[in-house]
Every structure is written in C-alpha cells, then in structure tokens.
C-alpha cells in the first residue's frame, strides 16, 4: 500500500492546478455572475487534453486511469465547479461508447473529439425519471435500419452546445429498466430541439438545458450494446463517473478551506486574528480533516476501478460523504467570513451554492445511501 502520488500523477496534478489557478480562477466569478458559457476556458482545456481524458489514446483521448482522472478533477473543481462539470461532461457522455461501444463505434463516435473543440452530452434524466430511471418515458421505435426517438430530457449539461448526444430511451415501456437502450445521436438532426436554459443556483458556468426529441432518426449502427442493455450501461457509466463527482466536492472544500485559513489569519476581532480564537480553529480543523477523508475515500473508489474491481459500494461512500462534506465545509467557510461571507464580492458564498448541486446530481446523497445499504446486505 502506498500513500503517495507517482511522479506522473504529480505532473498531471501540477498541470491541472496551473490551468485552474491561471486560467479558470480569474474568470470564475464572471461566469458565475453572468451564467454564460465559458467557451474560452473550455478551448484552453481542450488544448491541454482535459476535455477528453478518459478515452483511450488510440481513439484520440489521453487514456488516463480513473485515479489519474480524480487527481485532475480535484484541481479543476478547486478552480470552479461549474467549469469542471462542463469539462467532464464530454467524458461522461462518451463513457458508454468507451465501455460498451464496438470497434467501429469507437472509431466513428470517439476519435473525432480529438480534432477540435466539440461537446458531447449525456442524456439520461427526464422530468419523470431522475432517481427513478426505470420510469423512462422517452421511446425508441425501430423502423428498418433506424430507430425513431420521441420524448424529453432535462438537466442536460452542455446540451445547448453539443454536437453529439448519448441518449437513453426505452424500446418497451412495459419492460421498465429492461427496455432501456442506449443510442448516439450525431450532430443536431431534425426534430432535436434545445428548449430551455436553466437559471441555476450554483455551478452557473455549466450550461444546463432541456431537450425534446420529435421523430429523431438514429441509424441502428449507433445503438450502443443491445436493446435492453441501456440501464446496465447507464449504471456502469455512473459507477465510473461517481469518483469524479465525489472529487469535485473535495475541490470545492479545499477552496473553502484555503479561503477560510487566509481570511481567519487577516481578520481581527477582540484585538487578535480570528484564527487565534479556538472556536475558529475547531471549525478549520474540521474542514481540513473532512476534506482529506473525502479525498482518501475517493482515491480508493477510483483505485478499485483501475484494478478492474467493482466499486459500487466505495464510490457511493465517496460520493455521498464528499458531497455532504463539501456542503458543510462551504457553509462553515461562509460562517468564518461572517457577514462578508454572505456578500458576493467574497468568494465563499459561490462555493456554498456550487456544493449544493453535488448532493443532488449523478445520484442524490439519499440514493447513494440506498445503494450503500443494498450493497451491505447483498
């Protein structure tokens, strides 16, 4: 057992940290305030290979291990969780192809992301199917060499800017999760409309939209896996991406901790810096300890994947612990700042808003606990 990063991992960490510090941080407040798409930041991310970390090298990606990806993810989220979510969205959308695509599909549907800045969206959630994925209403009807997709998807990251969509739809509603099938929609075909840009509480730099599908035609060759395999593909994808979202929490918490330490050393009450008051010391100690605990849980959940082992239990530990931790740490950071913490000119209220989303997306903290309980009694 080794508790240190390798030389390569340190190099990846430094590269991501430099990007987060020099490129993302200076503009994070602007994109939060305006809720506009951070295309310039994402263009640099693309040049640095951050946008396609997970795809194998032979299909134009960087081919990073899961552990490597989490190391990078912490730095990105430390810069801005909204930007990090938009960066990771490509890998999330492409994971079904990476994990279950045929050779031909990987060549056609993955490799082109290396050519230029392009976005891809993962389309699973529906107004009536969030945690309850099996209640999916979007349908896919086979017609000859094509499927015809009809329905609506919501909360789709980068959906307004994507040029490829990984869409889950059911071929038979009565089969519940056994009818769910995975498709890749290329470009913006007729019938696919982007309908609503959500005005979010936090992570406002990431673009979140609703999509409607009206008789959108997809060739059979773009079906990932077999009919009815979609649910398993979606769950495998989320097992893979959960360590990354867990690590986003760690990045937010580390930012909150660092801001709090700096502020507590400068701000004086009763004639001394507030860090010399034990009440503040205890809060900061708790922030540091919980941030590190979440990081270790997350490393383990990613390491298991790299060993080819099932990580469902550990990745749910990591995601729920880390998300709840980040919410608490960011809230405490606002407390350390006092009245100023509530003011938008200071950086910590954004962290609190950003952290909240991680308790909700990619499996709520409650769903993670259901998974944990189910795994424990397996």
């Amino acid at each position: 057992m080794e508790f240190q990063l390798t030389e390569d991992q340190r190099a990846l960490q430094q590269a991501a940290r430099k990007y987060a510090r020099e490129v993302v941080r200076p503009k994070a407040a602007h994109y939060d305030e305006t809720a506009t798409f951070p295309r310039d930041l994402l263009a640099t991310a693309f040049e640095l290979g951050l946008l396609n970390m997970a795809a194998p090298v032979e299909y134009g990606g960087v081919g990073l291990s899961h552990l490597d990806q989490t190391i990078v993810a912490e730095e990105l989220s430390w810069g801005c969780a909204g930007v990090a979510t938009s960066i990771i969205a490509n890998d999330l959308a492409n994971l079904p192809i990476i994990l279950h695509g045929s050779e031909d599909q990987k060549k056609r549907l993955l490799s082109h992301f290396a050519e230029r800045l392009k976005f891809s969206s993962f389309c699973l959630t529906e107004p009536e199917a969030g945690s309850d994925v099996a209640n999916m209403q979007t349908t896919a009807r086979r017609e000859g060499d094509e499927y015809v997709i009809n329905g609506a998807k919501c909360f789709i990251t980068n959906g307004g800017h994507a040029e490829q969509y990984t869409v889950f739809a059911t071929v038979d509603k009565t089969k519940r999760h056994k009818g769910i099938t995975c498709f890749v929609v290329e470009g913006r075909p007729a019938g696919l409309t982007v309908s609503k840009h959500e005005n979010k509480m936090g992570q406002r730099a990431s673009d979140t939209v609703s999509l409607t599908f009206e008789d959108v035609r997809v060739p059979v060759k773009n079906r990932i896996g077999e009919e009815g395999q979609g649910f398993a593909i979606a769950m495998a994808t989320l097992d893979n991406s959960r360590p990354l979202t867990a690590m986003f929490s760690v990045g937010i918490a580390r930012a909150a901790l660092e801001h709090s330490m700096e502020y507590a050393s400068q701000r004086k009450t009763f004639g001394k810096p507030i860090i010399e008051h034990q009440a503040i010391q205890f809060m900061i100690a708790d922030m540091a300890m919980n941030t590190h605990a979440a990081r270790m849980l997350t490393y383990e959940s990613a390491w298991l994947l790299d060993q080819g082992q099932r990580n469902t239990l550990q990745s749910s530990y990591a995601k729920s612990f880390a998300a709840d931790m980040a919410m608490k740490v960011a809230t405490d950071a606002v407390q350390v700042y006092g009245g100023y913490g509530y003011i938008k000119e200071y950086p910590v209220e954004k962290l609190m808003r950003d952290a909240k989303l991680i308790q909700v997306y990619e499996g709520t903290s409650q769903v993670q606990r259901l998974v944990i309980a189910k795994e424990l009694f397996r």
């Binding site: 030389e7 990846l12 290979g49 951050l50």
Partner: protein
Amino acid sequence: MKILVTAKRVEDPESKIKVKPDGSGIVQEGLKYKINPFDEIGVEEGLRLVAKHQGEVVVVSIGGKEVQEQLRHALAMGAHRAVWVNHTGPLDQLGIAGLLQKVTEKEKPDLVILGKQSIDDDQNQVGQYLAEFLGWGQATFASKVESMESEQEKNKVPALTVTADGKAVRVIREVDNGLATLECQLPAVVTTDLRLNTPRYASLPGIMKAKSKPIEELTPEKLGVDVTPKIQIVKLSSPPARKAGIKVPDVATLVDKLRNEAKVV
C-alpha cells in the same frame, strides 16, 4: 537545428524558505520543487526555434534521481530527449559549467540556452563560464521588447531569431539603459531573461508521452570532470526582520524625523 537547454531543479518560489538554525542550509522538509523558471523560458524558446527551423531540443539537468521530475516536465512541454548527470553532493558554478561543457561537447548542439540565473542562489554565472570554457560567443539576458503600441513595436523582430544564413543568432538583450541587439555566430550560448516568452502549459497528452521519451544517464566520472567545489558556503542566514513602521501625527514631526533620525533630508 539542435538546441541544448538546461532544466535545474529549484525550490518552488511559492514555498516558504527557512534557514536551518545552524546556518548550514535550508530546511528541506515540506518544500516543493519545480524547474527553474528562467530555464522553463529557455525550454519554450528552444521549442519555438525548433518549430520554425526544425531539429531537436535536448534538456539537461544535474542532480540526484529527483531531477528527472524536472526533465520530464521539459519533455512534457515538448522537448525531444533528456540527459541526466547523476550527481549528489555539493557543486559550485565552476563544477556545473564544467559538466555542461562536457555534455555540450558530446551533444554538439548549435545553441545552448540557459536561464540567466537560477532562482535558488541567483548566481548568474554558469552561462558565462560555459561560453568561456567552450570558446563560444555568448548573449546573456535575452529578452523581449515591452509592448508599447508603437510603429517600432509593430515591426519588432522576435528577441531571439536565427539569421537568414542559419549561421548566427540575433539576440535582443536587456541592459541597464535599454535594449542591446547582438548577432552571435553559431554555435553560441544564450541565457534567458524573464520577458523573453511565456512558457506553454504542459498538456495531459504531453505528460503521458514524456514517459516514453529517453533520459540518458551520465555521471561526472563518465564525463571526466572533477567537480570538487572550489567555493565553500560557510553560513546561510535570513535577512534581518524589518522593523514595524511608525505613524507620525503631522508634517512637522515627519520632517523632523526625516532630518534628525533618518538623516535623509
């Protein structure tokens, strides 16, 4: 065009440097390290020249196994291969220049680029020694003209260019009263100043590719260089702590203090 660039391992300028209580060195524990920023500028300049004129960039570093981290950083930026002179223990500037002379004679580059100084002990000597040892021309403090939006600025030439016949470099360098332009016959030694360029970021694919780029290991013995230091560091000490400032109630007191205490007016 073949370019040899140095990549010294130095303490990260963002670390807090503390002198050991006995003055024998600095406290190493908990320190972070990186490539000397002036050397990083050198790597960037080497890569830009090679992009324009073809050829290869070879990076060299001297030190224990840990300096491979800085070599890998340069390789991740795009350098083609690396030379590692494995040596632990004290080294002075003459020893470093002696090792670099032998590496240069072995590699036969057209140009050697070094940082003008390293940010740990700020000696600013190795480039000059190396040029002297090799008997090559030297151009130190290669720099870039500051943007002034002038006509001259629009027509400015890059600070470091290869002349049309490919036999010399033109270097614009910072001097005390402005800028000096030199032409230097190749092979030559150039040292970089801060404003020469902004080094590129190491990309993730670059970092992964760097893993498979070769690092050749050499030693002072193999190179036949006696690196016994001729300079001994007797003691390190922190600069004296600054005294806190004072507030004066009025201009008269200020003038009085400037005249009678500080004795500057």
